[in-house]
Amino acid sequence: MNFDYLWQGFSVALTMQNLLIGLAGCFIGTLVGALPAIGPINGIALLMPIAYTMGLPAESTMILLAAVYCGAEYGGRISSILLNVPGDAGAVMTALDGYPMAKQGRAGEALMLSGLSSFVGGMLGALGLALFAPLLAGLAIGFGPAEYFVLMVFAFATLGSMVGSQPVKTLIGCALGLMLATVGLDATSGAYRFTFNEPELGDGIDFVVLVIGLFSVSEALLMLEHQAGGVTVIRKLGRMTARLDDIRKSVGATLRGSAIGFVVGVLPGTGASVSSAVSYTTEKRISDTEGTFGKGDVRGLAAPEAANNATACGAFVPMLTLGVPGSGTTAVMLGALMLYNIQPGPMLITERPEVVGGLVASLFIGNILLLLLNLPLVNIFARVLTVPNWLLVPGILVLSIVGVYSTHASVFSILLMLAIGMAGWLLRKAGFDMAPIILGFVLGHVMEVNLRNALAISGGDISILFQSKISIILWILAIAMAVLPLVAGRRSKSRALAKAVSPETSA
């Protein structure tokens, strides 16, 4: 295996400018993660256009955004532990044991221990990424348009089966994203599709406009409805070091959480919310012999924290090597690469080693910076939780407007962003997740181009999609991904029914 890209990446990431950018990203990311309801996607969506407009090179932008992503996974735990309100979706499970620990006066210990688990998860995830990225890129070099198309189908099948409680809503989200991707000039035929004679739609809906509208604007409206009433921040942090006994006790949970997190991260479309839930339930099944989970067990805290940080790194594997994002956040980062006219795929690692290597190296460096930042500064980050919404929300809206205006300098784009934001708010009220829309949008163009190229090669013969071994394996995996959860769901339902019936029959 050739790791030249990684050494080149370290030489890029260790320049003074990129180190400072990484440090700023870690700091901003932790703040963004700590603020309830504002997750990594919002942070990245708001920073991406500004970094681009400032003229940062692609590798520096990627380092900044990756640092924000990892920082947010660290920061999410702070509000989970101190507020019982998860800072982002990946930190939901952290609250289950973190908040009880805080209520017992052990908030400081919980923050330190979860910081350490995050660090281990992040480092192991980055190691996995460094090892697997060249391997997968090597495998994917043989992919033709047909294989790429089937890979996208596999990505959507995974997404539909793993994200959200209702697969149909996830799939509708994907379809909406794919539809939005068809707007604009069709390069193959020269036809304008769904532009309604509006010249600004000629190049399609801009990614920045869509992401900021869907996430930031709709989030602001939701925050107004969910204005926290009666939530109290736990201010007494207690001792600010983790006990050696607790660290020893949580080693297994941390390692298992890291492994689960990385694997889930590599699967296309599934992010930290899935991995932290899977790792928590797995850990509970393995370790909860005394029924202490949910009451402040350190293992219940360590497992999801290690998992969500490992997932953040794992999600880069398919994004950098296949061009298929491993999570909603990496879908946004894929869009950021597209701003620079970089199309991720198996050749990226050899064609732009400074971008891939720089990003991977920055994850190692970022995790060390995050540990150094998070342990002593946790008090300062905790203070962020007290910023009132009446100051915070206008700030988010200003950044949204600046983000769109800085890349387009047009009022039309901002109005389009607002319209998309309203639509996003309605969809979120109806229980739809926004990440599948972004994933559909990011993959839509590539999916259509590959399908059309494959059929152009075969002269319109659809059997080309089922000819190669890789395609057949991907079809089988896609079908398995779509069917298995249905079967598993039915089995667990019948088991639950049997459980419910048996006491009556035995009584």
């Binding site: 149909v168 069709d186 599709r193 604007v217 009132p388 205006y405 979120r428 059309r452």
Partner: protein, 152 residues
């Protein structure tokens, strides 16, 4: 389910019908795309039509089981929620004629007040935000922002 949430299947169904209508309109629009030449067997129409069919089928499944959706705001809360996008549109329309700082001041003051800040505090906060963001973007980050032409 928490207090603020309710299983409003009807709201979900109305949404489902809207999405179904969208699929229909998108499909019809897609089937009528005009193009001079097609260098591939599929052409620019097939993908939109396929997607319209996919969305329609998914909407039918969704209409049968719309699942849980959040309760939509009513009364005063609805007015406050709708006031935010209205204010946004207003301040965006002000952006080029009045300039970034004034437009942001209006937005931050209005949104701050809607989010529960006392009026004076909202004004003070907005003043601070307008200054802060103008300084950060125009001076520190050198991002182009409109200066406005209303006041010369």
């Amino acid at each position: 389910m928490s207090d603020g949430m309710s299983s409003s299947a009807w709201a979900g169904r109305i949404g489902g019908v809207c999405l179904l209508l969208l699929a229909l309109a998108y499909g019809i629009g897609g089937s009528q795309i005009e193009y001079a030449f097609a260098s591939d067997p599929l052409g620019p129409r097939v993908m939109p039509v396929l997607l319209a069919v996919l969305l329609a089928v998914l909407c039918l499944v969704y209409l049968i089981r719309p699942g849980v959706s959040e309760r939509f705001p009513r009364g005063r809360l609805l007015a406050r929620v709708l006031a935010v996008p209205t204010l946004l549109v207003g301040s965006v329309l002000l952006l080029e004629p009045a300039g970034f700082a004034i437009s942001i001041f209006v937005l931050a003051a209005g949104v701050g007040w809607i989010f529960g800040a006392p009026f004076r505090l909202a004004i003070a906060g907005a003043f601070g935000q307008a200054l802060l963001w103008w300084f950060v973007f125009s001076y520190l980050l050198d991002v182009y922002l409109p200066v406005g032409h209303l006041f010369g």
